[in-house]
């Protein structure tokens, strides 16, 4: 059981989990998101290298409707 922060919320995973696995599990298409992993913004090629571990701080964002402000 590991604890980490994803999009500002405390979350728990059974075990260290590859990022792509985590995304797949949530039905998220890696081609329409951006990931900041412990303060570093990842190029998509690097998603496969990343495994979510205890204490990680992760931002996973996508595009939404917006005009200004």
């Amino acid at each position: 059981m590991i604890r980490l922060t994803i999009n500002g919320k405390q979350r728990e995973l059974e075990a260290p989990t590859p990022l792509l696995t985590f995304l797949e599990r949530h039905g998220i298409n890696p081609h329409v998101i951006a990931v900041e992993y412990n303060g570093e913004i990842l190029r998509r090629e690097r998603f496969s290298e990343i495994t979510l571990r205890e204490g990680d701080r992760v931002e996973i964002v996508h595009m939404v409707g917006g005009g200004a402000a």
Partner: protein, 258 residues
């Protein structure tokens, strides 16, 4: 008539209207509005995925990216640092290195911070972004943003979503007069007459969101505003008559039956 097309950062646009993607009652309304207005670029915002409801479709499932260029914005950022971070995230998606830069500390009127905007713009240009900054009606700030390499300046006509129209008319006219980059009038345009007025005084394009998204009939209003933009552009090219304090008859004065 043959108008030169709008060119921003080397990219050519036939349409001089940019639409936002926020606040629509339905995605169908939004897409129909894009088609009715024949736009070529739309703005989008970046937000955290909600992992408590991750299955919801993303806006990209609705927007044909072959047809509509995406212009990510930094909406929600209150400082230069936040805006730079969001710009980096947007670029990391690999869809665009263009960024509509918004640095907005004020929640009530949503007016941009000139200092933070210039700081962020300077750095993002250095990093190779195509930067389209959202600014208040400040001609000197507009020149400074141009000088640091911004691709456009985007002065606000009136507060975002207010529909008040060209409240900042006079200073936007000065911005246009002094600009050497395209001027895109952004925020507060509520109707075709507002967009037409902006274009008549020489604006290069308009950006509209709320006036379309929350109109009674969004696609129809999108079409109306697109026509207003065209009308204003043609009038700018045609050369309007000067305003006169007195009247001047359009019928001949001689030969009247008496």
């Amino acid at each position: 008539m043959d108008d030169r097309p709008l060119v921003i950062a080397g990219r050519t646009f036939r349409s001089r209207l940019i639409l936002g993607t926020g606040k629509y009652r339905s995605m169908e309304d939004m897409v129909a509005a894009f088609e009715a207005a024949e736009v070529e670029m739309v703005t989008v915002a970046l937000r955290r995925i909600d992992f408590d409801d991750p299955t919801k479709k993303t806006i990209l499932d609705y927007i044909d990216r072959e047809r509509y260029a995406l212009l990510p914005n930094t909406a929600g950022c209150q400082t230069a640092e936040e805006a730079i971070r969001v710009a980096h995230l947007a670029r990391a998606m690999g869809m665009s290195d263009w960024i509509k830069l918004e640095v907005i500390p004020d929640p009530k009127y949503l007016l941009p911070d000139p200092i933070g905007t210039l700081d962020a713009a300077r750095q993002l240009v250095r990093e190779g972004f195509v930067v389209l900054p959202y600014i208040n009606d400040d001609p000197v700030l507009a020149k400074r943003l141009e000088d640091v390499g911004c691709a456009t300046v985007m002065p606000l006509a009136s507060p975002i979503g207010s529909g008040q129209g060209m409240v900042n008319f006079d200073q936007i006219r000065i911005i246009i007069e002094q600009a050497r980059v395209p001027v895109v009038v952004d925020a507060g345009l509520g109707a075709p007459s507002d967009a037409a007025l902006a274009m008549e005084i020489g604006a290069d394009a308009c950006l509209v969101n709320t006036a379309v998204a929350l109109a009674g009939n969004p696609p129809l209003m999108a079409r109306a505003i697109a026509l207003g933009v065209q009308a204003g552009r043609l009038a700018f090219l045609a050369g309007r008559i000067p305003k006169k304090p007195y009247a001047a008859a359009s019928s001949p004065l001689e030969g009247v039956v008496r």
